[in-house]
């Protein structure tokens, strides 16, 4: 008995020592990012890689998990008291990096800052919020102008990041130079275009899941150099491995490749009614657009250009989401059908179309494959490769016939659809307008019932497919390369890197 007690005591001692050892991690995690983040202020930030940095620094009211479910983070729960009043209960005992307490006042301050600060990129995301009420030390109520089902998803992104009011007030517009939030790591330094360093915040509410002393986010723009750094052991994790580098990562036993579905898509926007360029046959006649679509072999495109990694799609919402319209899947290539449809239009062949493409080798290669495919049906597709900013500008002015556009995707389907299909939407480059689609999208915003919303989005998606202002082609996957000694990485569809639970074996 004494021996058992002794062993138990030893085991307890060992566990305690282990726990203590775990409490003070010493390792540094090095993450390679594809570009430099923009302003490190959740209110002002607009870049995707900035969101990756924030995931380590600024906790949000909610987060999403690998199943795309909304889970509490700084909140502990929520309830709609009525369709326009959202009550959010907050986690107790949460500290900001400057030692101040995260409470309802801090939430009110942060959300108001997102709503009112000049240059805020969050104002549109929180447009449905009318006012924020402090209903208790750890309870806030959001009073909405109208019911808004996408709001929770917005609060699971930058719009839900809560800042230290004291630090934000003191820094004003310079907050991005030294951001103070309530995440697992606090800001240390930034050397623009080189790296951002954050260090472990010992008072983090979930500190037990953090196993690194520091994270260094290194900007490495060239994809081959990013992978070379991973192979040389200079970084531990590379986000956004391009398909052409996948074989290299797979062949290296020291590395691991993790692919998971993303939220975004790439597709060709046809200018159906956006300025004088909407005058060609592909703009005026949906049959021509359908013939173009039928001539494309999406699976071949995926195999040839993306090594089979970017699955074909015809929808704005990706597979796996409850809002992915059932039964609406890519059809096999129908060249004869495409030819017949074009013949039925009576238009002289070939039909000339120019597509604007952001100047990236992969995208240009993809359009070259499409060019060869649609040529067989009777299209003369000209590829106009342009620098990214220029394509964006041309798209905004309607100076295009067709435009290959990539969208990184959002958790809520509204983020993938509304701005693109709704009449006058800010990303509605084609100038598309259909009252039935508008109505379905508006109704979908007003209900939080998943089935009801899914039916509305499916209705809109089917109509979009009939009108075809956007020809969806493929869904990029999140491809991450990691050091094989790194465990605990959980891929989430938004592609952000959540360090909670990640461990680097020595």
């Amino acid at each position: 008995m004494r021996r058992i007690l002794g062993l138990t005591a030893l085991a307890l001692l060992a566990t305690t020592s282990l726990a203590q050892a775990q409490e003070t991690p010493t390792q540094t995690l090095k993450i390679a990012l594809r570009e430099d983040a923009d302003a490190l202020d959740p209110t002002l930030a607009r870049s995707y890689v900035g969101r990756i940095v924030f995931a380590s620094m600024c906790d949000k009211l909610f987060d999403i998990n690998e199943k795309l479910e909304i889970v509490p983070q700084l909140a502990t729960g929520y309830a709609y008291e009525d369709p326009t009043t959202l009550r959010i209960d907050l986690r107790a005992g949460v500290k900001f990096h400057d030692g101040t307490t995260m409470d309802a006042e801090a939430v009110k301050y942060s959300l108001n800052r997102h709503l009112t600060m000049q240059g805020s990129g969050r104002r549109g995301e929180l447009a449905s919020v009318d006012s924020i009420e402090v209903a208790g030390p750890l309870t806030v109520k959001l009073h909405l102008k109208s019911p808004s089902s996408p709001l929770l998803a917005q609060l699971a992104d930058r719009a839900g990041m809560i800042l230290s009011a004291k630090a934000a007030e003191a820094a004003g517009k310079d907050f991005s130079l030294r951001p103070v939030c309530a995440g697992p790591f606090k800001f240390v330094e930034r050397v623009a275009q080189d790296h951002i360093t954050v260090e472990r915040f010992p008072d983090y509410w979930n500190a037990k899941d953090i196993h690194f002393a520091k994270i260094v986010f290194q900007t490495i723009v060239d994809s081959t150099t990013r992978v070379a750094n991973l192979r040389a052991g200079a970084v531990d994790l590379v986000e956004s491995v391009v398909p052409s580098d996948v074989a290299t990562v797979k062949a290296d036993p020291k590395l691991k490749l993790i692919t998971s579905p993303g939220l975004g898509y790439e597709g060709i926007n046809f200018n159906v009614n956006h300025g004088p360029r909407a005058s060609g046959p592909i703009s005026k006649d949906a049959r021509v657009r359908h013939a173009f679509d039928m001539a494309i072999d999406r699976d071949a495109l995926n195999q040839v250009v993306f090594n089979g990694l970017f699955p074909a799609t015809v929808q704005a919402v990706q597979t796996g989401s409850p809002y992915h319209a059932p039964g609406v899947e890519p059809k096999p290539r129908d060249l004869d059908g495409a030819k017949k449809l074009l013949a039925a239009t009576g238009l002289p062949l070939p039909i000339k179309v120019t597509v604007n493409v952001p100047n990236s080798p992969t995208r240009i290669q993809a359009m070259e494959v499409v060019q060869a495919m649609v040529a067989e049906a009777g299209f003369d597709l000209k590829i106009n490769a342009m620098e990214f900013a220029t394509t964006l500008d041309a798209g905004d002015r309607g100076d295009f016939e067709a435009y290959l556009l990539a969208w990184s995707g959002r958790t809520d389907p509204d983020g993938n659809i509304w701005n693109f299909w709704h009449t006058g939407g800010p990303n509605n480059y084609p100038g598309y307008s259909n009252p039935d689609v508008d109505k379905a999208l508006e109704d979908a915003r007003k209900t939080s019932d998943v089935k009801e919303r899914a039916a509305l989005y499916a209705k809109a998606q089917i109509q979009e497919l009939a009108d075809l202002p956007i020809n969806y082609l493929w869904s990029p996957q999140n491809i991450v390369g990691i050091n094989a000694k790194l465990t605990g990485f959980v891929p989430v569809p938004d592609g952000l890197i959540r360090v909670q639970g990640m461990v680097l074996a020595k």
Binding site: R123, A192, D194, Q218, L392, N427
Partner: protein
């Protein structure tokens, strides 16, 4: 000498003003709306209007220029539109990086190019000459970015001798600093070494045919003394001219090399700024680069005088 320096400084003012006006006008001519880039994916008409107002993009061009110039004259280059960091701070941070990289590249270029040129000229039509010419041709024909990636794969990935990218400042850890910059400096210096080699060779060939060289040999001086003391000194004047001109190439080459090796220098700063339509950063960087080019060409002028006493006056 001081009068010359003063005169050159005064001449620099209209040059720099012209450069700043040109850059300002040219970047306005670039397609692409900075507000659209800054707004990112979640752009709304209100956000775009707000950004344009905040950045003075809704004012007339002359007013925008004067607003920027007013700041510069007070030593304020403004804030980067993208990351909101002070541009003067960014320049102060990035300039030493590119200067270090450029200096190392130049030293490497001179150390390889000039001796190789001398050896090739002295051993004219021997296999030394052919070897030097072949290396020179290879150096000229190899693109920086390709050589950079190949060196990363060989030296960092396969051999593990040097870090593949990144930068450590000299003041922080000089060993690491050299380790992170030696490969990019070699890549950057490579093409210039080739140019220097070819010019040193031809200048040396012409010098070695001169009468004073024959006289020096007739005096019984050793061949290396003849080559280094007599021929080389005269052959160096055109090489120095070329070297000064190539300094500009170094800045241009740094743009690609810094991108491949992820060196956070001037080149990377301006490339990112152009792609992000971060106008004030582009303007600030170009102004500083133009000032440096003027300064370097002045240094080259002074160096001619030091090398060639015939250019000294008064």
């Amino acid at each position: 000498m001081l009068a010359t320096l003063g005169k050159r400084a005064l001449q620099a003012i209209p040059t720099l003003t012209l450069v700043s006006v040109l850059v300002f006008v040219l970047q306005q001519a670039m397609p692409g709306d900075p507000a659209l880039i800054l707004a990112g994916e979640d752009k709304t008409p209100e956000l775009l209007a707000q950004i344009r107002h905040e950045l003075w993009l809704d004012r007339s061009l002359p007013l925008q220029y004067l607003h920027w110039l007013g700041g510069v004259l007070q030593g304020d280059f403004g804030l980067s539109w993208r990351n909101r960091e002070p541009i003067a701070g960014l320049i102060a941070l990035k300039l030493p990086v590119t200067l270090q990289l450029g200096s190392m590249a130049f030293v490497i270029a001179v150390c390889i190019g000039v001796p190789a040129g001398i050896v090739a000229a002295v051993g004219r039509n021997t296999w030394w000459d052919h070897l030097a010419n072949a290396i020179g041709l290879a150096g000229l024909s190899t693109p920086n970015f390709w050589l950079g990636i190949m060196m990363i794969l060989l030296i960092s990935v396969h051999l593990g001798w040097l870090p593949p990218s990144g930068y450590v400042p000299l003041g922080e850890d000089w060993r690491q600093s050299l380790a992170t910059t030696i490969m990019p400096a070699f890549v950057l210096g490579n093409a210039i070494a080739a140019v220097l080699m070819r010019h040193t060779r031809s200048a040396m060939l012409s010098a070695l045919d001169q009468d004073y060289v024959r006289t020096a040999r007739a005096k019984g001086l050793s061949e290396w003394r003849v080559v280094l003391r007599h021929a080389l000194r005269n052959a160096l004047v055109p090489v120095v001219t070329l070297g000064a001109l190539e300094l500009g190439t170094l800045f241009a080459g740094a743009v690609l090399t810094e991108q491949v090796f992820t060196i956070p220098g001037f080149g990377k700063l301006i490339v990112d700024a152009v792609f992000n339509r971060d106008y004030p950063v582009v303007q600030g960087v170009v102004l500083i680069t133009a000032s440096l080019t003027i300064l370097l060409s002045l240094c080259a002028d002074l160096l001619y005088v030091a090398i060639n006493p015939r250019l000294r006056t008064g």
